[in-house]
């Protein structure tokens, strides 16, 4: 079962060039979709495939596309979220740098399905070389008629643009991304209205993650049933797991959705270094609640990880061993969110910073009794009360670490006045 899909051609020399991509059968799916299928059929197939968003929220891509009004005078837009900023996440950069045409093909098919003629890739500013490579790939695709006017003689037009971010985590939040793309300060918008009806430039907009779209060509080529069979009944396909931290072989591993977390860490990523014991795992990027060593016998799919009290997120697995003080992990987490809060809404702006101040003080050896309780209380007061999901993203890891490792954290306070 362990055959790769998205990453199957990775490692081929110059895969990022269109000639090599075409040699591997590239753009066959786009041709099939655009010339043989109606847009509704594409949409239906993707819906049936249970393709869930790879960006973090795990929302069904087909449903998302379906929310865009079919009959509208307004232009519709596709925004590809390539602002891969979640700490621990490094899967999209592999797709973008190794196989950019796969993404472009996904974009063409998705745009065709929804009736979009302008698409943007919002790519994080740090991915400079990757952005250049993507731009080159786009130029090639235009040159060979896979982008632009009358693609493959189908009468379908699509223009694709690359927009580079300037280094703010919050711009990975879809509405902040839209603001940034419009040239404004990247602050999240109040929802509703949702982007599907009022998005980029106030027009209906689909926002998808890179990996999500990269799956689309394979669904078209092989069918929804094939895709579903790869993964779980409600969560099809494979995921690119990015494993980092205290493992022997950190890196990306494309595995079927539903592979056990233990298997990923100990079989694929080579387990821990000799003599070390697993302490905790952050299973879906830094904002997902931490799992203790004994909680890792779970299937890695959106629903199962949620049932275990964490979240699948971006499938970025951060492995922590027994040599790492949990306070250090907590400090990294707290510092990151305090630094990245956009400052717009009260609980996130002030709460993340308060949490960081407490954790920093604890790390400096000036912790006091009651600090851990304060962390729990503050995190609870942020969660669910902020303008955008970043509040939850900041609160959940802090809350879970403070709760599950309360003893260790409190022990670190003892003996220090």
């Amino acid at each position: 079962m362990n055959e790769k899909v998205l990453t199957q051609n990775f490692g081929l020399d110059h895969l990022f060039r269109i000639e090599v991509y075409l040699e591997q059968g590239g753009y066959r799916a786009a041709k099939k979709a655009l010339t043989e299928w109606k847009p509704e059929q594409v949409l239906e197939e993707v819906k049936k495939a249970s393709l869930r968003g790879r960006g973090g929220a795990g929302f069904s891509a087909g449903l998302k596309w379906g929310f865009v009004p079919k009959k509208t005078d307004k232009p519709k837009y596709l925004c590809v979220n390539a602002d891969e900023g979640e700490p621990g996440t490094f899967k999209d950069r592999y797709i973008l740098s190794h196989d950019p045409h796969l993404l472009i093909e996904g974009i063409v098919i998705a745009s065709y399905a929804v009736g979009i003629h302008d698409a943007y890739v919002y790519i994080r500013g740090e991915y400079e070389v990757i952005a250049l490579r993507l731009e080159q790939a786009i130029a090639e695709a235009y040159g060979q008629g896979y982008l632009g006017k009358n693609i493959l003689g189908s009468g379908f037009d699509l223009d694709l643009y690359v927009h580079r971010g300037a280094g703010a985590y919050i711009c990975g939040e879809e509405t902040a991304l839209l603001e940034s793309l419009e040239g404004k300060r990247g602050n999240p918008r109040l929802k509703p209205p949702f982007p599907a009806s009022v998005g980029l430039f106030q027009n209906p907009t689909v926002i998808n993650n890179v990996e999500t779209l990269a799956n689309v060509p394979f669904i078209i080529l092989n069918g929804a049933a094939w895709f579903l069979a790869k993964g779980q009944p409600n969560d099809g396909g494979t995921r690119i797991f990015g494993v980092s931290g205290a493992v022997n072989k950190p890196g990306i591993y494309e595995l079927p959705v539903g592979t056990s977390l233990r298997e990923i860490i100990f079989t694929h990523a080579g387990g821990l270094k000799p003599g070390r014991k697993l302490k905790a795992v952050i299973p879906g990027g830094m904002s997902s609640p931490i799992l203790k060593a004994e909680e890792i016998d779970i299937k890695m799919d959106v629903d199962s990880v949620a049932a275990a009290g964490s979240m699948m997120g971006s499938a970025a697995i951060i492995v922590i061993d027994d040599r790492t003080p949990i306070l250090e992990v907590l400090k990294k987490v707290a510092k990151f969110y305090a630094h990245e809060s956009c400052g717009q809404c009260t609980p996130c702006r002030l709460g993340t910073n308060w949490i960081f101040k407490i954790v920093k003080r604890m790390a400096e050896g000036k912790g006091e009794q009651g600090d851990v309780d304060s962390l729990l209380r503050l995190a609870a007061n942020i969660k669910g009360r902020t303008l955008c999901p970043m509040g939850d993203a900041a609160a959940m890891p802090v809350f879970s670490i403070a709760k599950k490792f309360k003893e260790e954290l409190e022990a670190s306070l003892k003996g220090k006045t």
Partner: protein, 519 residues
């Protein structure tokens, strides 16, 4: 219409109404910082969260639209806890310098803390240090430690004035409001930022450190400085009993009236009003015949004044009366002037002297710089500007209301013209040099000290009442005119009825259909 329940009360509102507005309609106030009725919901302060039956999370009342059958709670334990925690977050980094903060006493953060906070501070960390005295406009000082980042100021400048002088800079805890480089907030509506600021972050140099809000008495009035007639609050300090000179108007603020001025007033009115109320006021009766040792009193002045007119009346020379009126007078005063001078005395010349028209700004400020030209016209005056030759020619008594002649002509021109007029009376609230050219100066009331009504440029009749007592010899023009009519023994039955401005307005209403207010 949509029916829903707010705190158990049934409410019916039109479709598309937000929960916040529906609650307001039901008489349930919801605390808020960033929401303002003039702007689109912002949703950033998170104070207006409410609980809705069947919703997993608390929802924003400012942006959530009502649905039929919704059950909303604005006081449930979880809502109160959310409010408490928002206040806790805000206060954690707040400097708590209320004792020296001009907003103390009318600060939303203070008020809400009283209602929903009242907890011990658990904040053990160092507070961020920020700039406390940033000049962001001609009269505006920003204190970044007090700022709660509701962005009302930024939104006002982008949505209302569209001048975009302020923006949000930096992010996270370092987020701050700032001007772009050194370009200050420079527009005719900058003073509104102070009223908009729910805390003491933006203060007005004209008000800073001068007094405390709790000493101020709030009165409702109308701004007289242009034809718009913006609805205002006058904040008046009644003074400390043993400290003379402490009674004064400290500021005016906009009073919401969607049909006239919305939520705003212009700086021309805001600062112009206060300085006019205080500066160069005429408090005392003046008799410019220096050798006279007589104690001057209103009674005496009225007798002398009356005698003059009476003698002209007896010799049927009332056409020798020259009268200069101003559109600063109220409908009631102008009506009295019309009854006395036009109808009863048949005065020869009636002119108007008004402040020079300025430039309108296309928003609130009108070119016409007096409050009642429309009223004057409806009462039956032609707004003939005074002409200096005709004014003096053959006039035996000149009665001037307001000092605006001195704005139209130079004092030397006027002195020359006045030379041959045997009797001259000036009724004015302000001294501007004109008082040296007349025999009698009668101090009259400013807007703050009198009641009446004005008809604004859009024909809206707006009433106002006295906010502060008149000091010194000051009397309202309405009183001066009714007293004069009594002195002259003109139609006792009519003038006897005019005991106050309301009574005058009643006569005006009966007389001229335009002023009939439909109820």
């Amino acid at each position: 219409m949509v029916k829903l329940q707010i705190d158990g009360k049934p409410v019916e509102v039109i479709e598309g109404t937000t929960i916040f507005k529906a609650a307001e309609q039901a008489g349930v106030p919801i605390p808020h910082f960033c929401f303002h009725p003039a702007f689109a919901p912002e949703g950033s302060c998170r104070l207006c969260l409410v609980e809705i039956d069947g919703f997993p999370k608390l929802e924003l009342s400012c942006s959530t639209v009502v649905r039929a059958g919704m059950k909303v709670s604005t006081q449930s334990p979880s809502v109160r806890e959310a409010r408490r925690s928002v206040l806790e977050f805000l206060l954690a980094e707040h400097p708590l310098d209320c004792p020296i903060c001009d907003k103390a006493g009318e600060c939303k953060l203070q008020d809400y803390y009283q209602d929903y906070g009242l907890t011990e501070s658990l904040f053990r960390e160092f507070k961020e240090k920020r700039d406390k005295k940033v000049k962001i406009g001609g009269k505006l000082i920003l204190d970044r430690e007090r700022c709660i980042l509701c962005r009302r100021c930024v939104r006002f400048l982008s949505e209302i004035t569209k001048t975009h002088e302020l923006g949000v800079f930096e992010r996270g805890i370092r987020t701050e409001i700032s001007t772009y480089e050194e370009e200050l907030v420079d527009n005719n509506y900058s003073g509104n930022l102070v009223d908009l600021c729910p805390v003491g972050a933006i203060t007005d140099v004209e008000f800073r450190f001068k007094t405390r809000p709790w000493f101020l008495v709030r009165g409702e009035s109308i701004c007289p400085l242009c034809g718009r007639g913006c609805n205002i609050y006058i904040d008046y300090h009644p003074g400390f009993p043993r400290v003379p000179g402490t009674a004064k108007v400290y500021r005016i603020r906009p009073r919401t009236n969607e049909s006239v001025n919305g939520h705003w007033i212009c700086d021309f009115g805001r600062y112009g009003f206060v300085s006019r109320q205080q500066m160069n006021r005429c408090h005392k009766l003046i008799w410019n015949k220096a050798d006279e040792k007589t104690e001057l009193s209103w009674e005496k002045v009225l007798i002398l004044f009356g005698e003059r007119i009476q003698s002209l009346r007896e010799s049927q020379r009332t056409d020798k009366i020259a009268l200069v009126l101003t559109s600063w007078l109220t409908n009631e005063e102008l009506y009295l002037a019309k009854k006395i001078f036009k109808d009863d005395l048949n005065a020869g010349k009636i002119f108007f002297a008004d402040p020079r028209a300025g430039e309108g700004d296309g928003f609130l400020l009108r070119a016409e710089r007096s409050p009642n030209s429309r009223g004057a016209q409806e009462i039956g005056f032609e707004l003939k500007p005074a002409r200096i030759e005709t004014l003096s020619q053959g006039s035996e008594i000149l009665i001037i209301f307001g000092g605006y002649l001195a704005e139209v002509f130079s004092l030397s021109e006027l002195r020359k013209a006045f030379e041959n007029i045997p009797a001259k009376v000036l009724v004015t609230s302000h001294l501007n040099g004109l008082e040296s050219l007349v025999d009698f100066v009668l101090p009259s009331a400013f807007t703050t000290e009198k009641s009446g009504s004005w008809t604004n440029a859009d024909s809206r009749i707006q009433r106002f009442t006295a906010v502060a007592p008149a000091c010194g010899d000051i009397r309202s023009e309405a009183r001066i005119l009714t007293d004069l009519a009594r002195e002259l023994k003109l139609n006792d039955a009519f003038y006897g009825r005019l005991t106050d401005t309301a009574a005058i307005f009643k006569e005006l209403e009966n007389d001229i259909p335009f002023f009939r207010t439909e109820t």
